[in-house]
């Protein structure tokens, strides 16, 4: 019946949908029982509570109807019940679908967490975007950027000579600022360890972050390079739902990394860029053996952990809060590392609630910053985020995503909040202590073994008293030996109660704490230590085989632990961590 009247475009969309079906997608298509539990997780629903078209299930139903009508038996037996009789027929319907898929959802995936059936609504919304893009229907802003990414190779149409000119400019400025001829930005250096990829807005409008990253790489003595092509870590394929574009963008980075022979790609602080390059792009591009990749947050954190750079948190004294990028956090599981780094480089960190996987979108996600037509609705939906930021009383909102920087700046302006937005690269660069950093030697290959700070050359923990808490005897023995070899005086405890008693009696300089112990576990022990006047100031480094407990411990209403290490523990890393925590402690105390 309805088939007769369908336009060619709609038939093409139905054909395309068939190619997108896999187990996960079908699970999400058939799993929804319209219970409404996801409604209040969506910032659009919170801003427009009386509009049923804002609910996640309504948005996902747009794809669901097409699926039911074409692929599911329920659509043939009782089409009126499952909406299979209400599929789009005319090209005008596509405009409505465009407004729903692009204009009422930022694909933040928050609703997925509250779904008892595990329905991933954002995936379905992205599929709808992809079906529309497939027939040329998309917001103008997405179209322009996609075209630039396909044709020129980056989302802002930056030409190669302009890109190189800008990098050289930052390189010259860095050299001038530091007065070191070696302090430059290497371009196209074959065999470098790291290839650094950025968001085009850095090169087109605000290259200060490029210079800051270069400063940090230089201070760490890193062997790094920027590529002359394949440098755009962003990916509008994620936003438009076009997997072909997604794969093409990601592939440019992967192929360049192979051409240069680098060990890994480091992705500058861009949430969707990280997700697209690190995770999704591998599938879109059909990569079987992708080059290792990491967020620059991880790179910077490791520099501090391993003592490759020295930072002074007093340089960043303002009250700060952290905003989780949905792509980094909810989709990437990247929760604690940015917080750990933030605590190392700033004095006053105040958590925003909710946070981590439950954090709300900056409301500029999913490509929303490039679609002005939806800005008023987006800003209205940002009220929840604005209220949460205001409640922290922070003067600085820190985030690890360029898109969030712009989204947050927009809502700060709209809701007249008294704060500014910064990224971790800004804070780390600002906190860098350069005078004690040795000048790196260029062009000399440094063997892998000695890039980790040697432990035994001195006794970095000499004069320190450390309490080791672990219920397993062999682990305890290992930790004791490592700390003693580094010069520390070590005492130990095998359970929580003993640990608390010893901490009170001996007042150690540092406690290394296991989490999973019989009786009073590490989390309870930690909270008790932090809530007791004599022990609250003693730094704690958690050493655990259960990285998933991180959230539990960071969510306690006490200051977070100073360090967090997963087992098995590398002994050099352990000592580097311990000495860093102790030095950092002294700086804060001073």
């Amino acid at each position: 019946m309805a088939n007769q009247a369908k336009t060619h475009k709609i038939k093409m969309m139905e054909e395309q949908l068939a190619k997108k079906l896999n187990r996960q997608v079908v699970g999400s298509l058939v799993g929804c029982v319209h219970c409404g539990m996801c409604d209040e997780s969506c910032h659009y629903v919170l801003a427009f509570p009386d509009d049923h078209k804002m609910t996640p299930s309504y948005k996902a139903d747009q794809v669901r109807k097409l699926f039911k009508a074409n692929h599911d038996w329920t659509g043939s037996v009782f089409p009126w019940w499952v909406g299979a009789d209400k599929v789009p027929l005319s090209d005008d319907d596509l405009e409505t679908l465009k407004d729903i898929a692009f204009g009422t959802c930022t694909n933040c995936r928050r609703c997925t967490l509250s779904c008892p059936m595990g329905v991933d609504t954002a995936t379905l919304n992205r599929i709808m975007r992809g079906l529309l893009s497939h027939v040329g229907v998309m917001p103008e802003g997405v179209r322009v950027v996609s075209k630039d990414q396909w044709e020129i190779g980056n989302q802002m149409g930056v030409l190669k000579e302009d890109y190189i000119d800008t990098i050289e400019w930052m390189s010259e400025e860095l050299e001038e600022d530091l007065g070191h001829a070696e302090a430059t930005i290497p371009m196209e250096k074959k065999g470098a360890k790291i290839m650094y990829c950025i968001n085009p807005r850095e090169v087109k409008y605000d290259p200060r972050t490029i210079k800051e990253a270069a400063l940090i790489f230089w201070a760490a003595g890193e062997d790094w390079t920027m590529p002359d092509e394949g440098w755009d870590n962003t990916n509008f394929g994620l936003f438009s739902g076009d997997d072909g574009l997604g794969g093409a963008c990601a592939k440019r980075e992967y192929e360049k990394a192979r051409e240069l022979g680098v060990d890994k790609i480091v992705i500058s602080e861009c949430g969707h860029g990280f997700r697209s390059t690190r995770f999704e792009g591998v599938n879109w591009a059909g990569e079987s053996e992708p080059v290792p990749m990491e967020s620059s947050v991880m790179t910077m954190l490791n520099y501090v952990r391993e003592g490759k750079i020295k930072v002074d948190p007093t340089k960043n004294p303002e009250k700060m809060t952290f905003h989780d990028s949905c792509n980094n956090a909810r989709s990437g599981g990247f929760f604690e590392e940015p917080r750990e780094l933030l605590n190392l480089v700033a004095m006053d960190f105040q958590e925003m609630y909710p946070n981590r996987a439950e954090g709300f979108c900056c409301t500029g996600g999913g490509g929303a910053m490039s679609m002005s037509e939806y800005t008023p609705r987006r800003l209205e939906s940002a009220k929840i985020k604005a209220d949460q930021i205001r409640a922290t009383g922070a003067k600085v909102v820190v985030t690890s995503c360029h898109n969030c920087v712009d989204g947050l700046n927009d809502l700060i302006k709209h809701y007249k909040l008294d704060c500014e937005v910064k990224q971790l690269v800004n804070l780390v660069a600002n906190a860098l202590v350069l005078d004690e950093v040795e000048k790196p030697v260029e062009e000399v290959a440094v063997p892998e073994e000695i890039t980790v700070k040697p432990v035994a050359e001195a006794e970095p923990l000499a004069g320190r008293k450390i309490l080791v808490v672990d219920d397993e005897e062999d682990v305890r023995t290992f930790l004791i030996t490592v700390f003693e070899d580094a010069g520390a005086e070590v005492i130990s405890a095998a359970d929580g109660n003993e640990a608390i008693a010893m901490a009170r009696e001996h007042l150690p300089d540092l406690i290394s704490l296991d989490l999973s112990m019989p009786g009073k576990d590490g989390v309870e022990t930690f909270v008790e230590l932090r809530s007791t006047a004599e022990t609250e100031e003693i730094p704690v480094c958690v050493v655990t085989g259960h990285p998933e407990f991180r959230q539990v411990i960071y969510d306690r209403p006490v200051p977070p632990p100073e360090g967090y290490l997963g087992k098995p523990v590398d002994e050099d890393k352990l000592v580097a961590y311990a000495s860093h925590i102790l030095e950092h402690r002294n700086e804060k105390a001073n």
């Binding site: 802003g141 322009v144 950027v145 630039d148 989302q155 802002m156 149409g157 930056v158 302009d162 000119d165 800008t166 400019w169 968001n199 085009p200 807005r201 090169v203 087109k204 409008y205 605000d206 290259p207 200060r208 962003t234 861009c270 490509g367 910053m369 490039s370 002005s372 037509e373 939806y374 800005t375 008023p376 360029h402 898109n403 712009d406 700046n409 302006k413």
Partner: protein
Amino acid sequence: MALFELGDVSIEVDEDGFMQEPENWNEAVAAALGSTEGVDDLTDDHWKVVNYLRDYYLQFGVAPMIRKLCKQTGFQLKEIYELFPSGPAKGACKVAGLPKPTGCV
């Protein structure tokens, strides 16, 4: 599409407040748009930036790289941010009557 009105100025802007019809731009429009981006008084330095952006846009149809802007006007990057607190893309380009830059900005 929305109407932006301030004093005698009345222009069509997009939902982010960028001009829709750059040909209707004039100095009064620039001053009015500046007031929405934390620029209350357009000094000679502001005009130097605004005029360069505008000329470049009329010639090439896109906003210039920040590199070109700094090189041609002689301002340092941080001076551009002092002049236009919301930055070259959202601040200076808006005042110069350019449409909203494309992409993640």
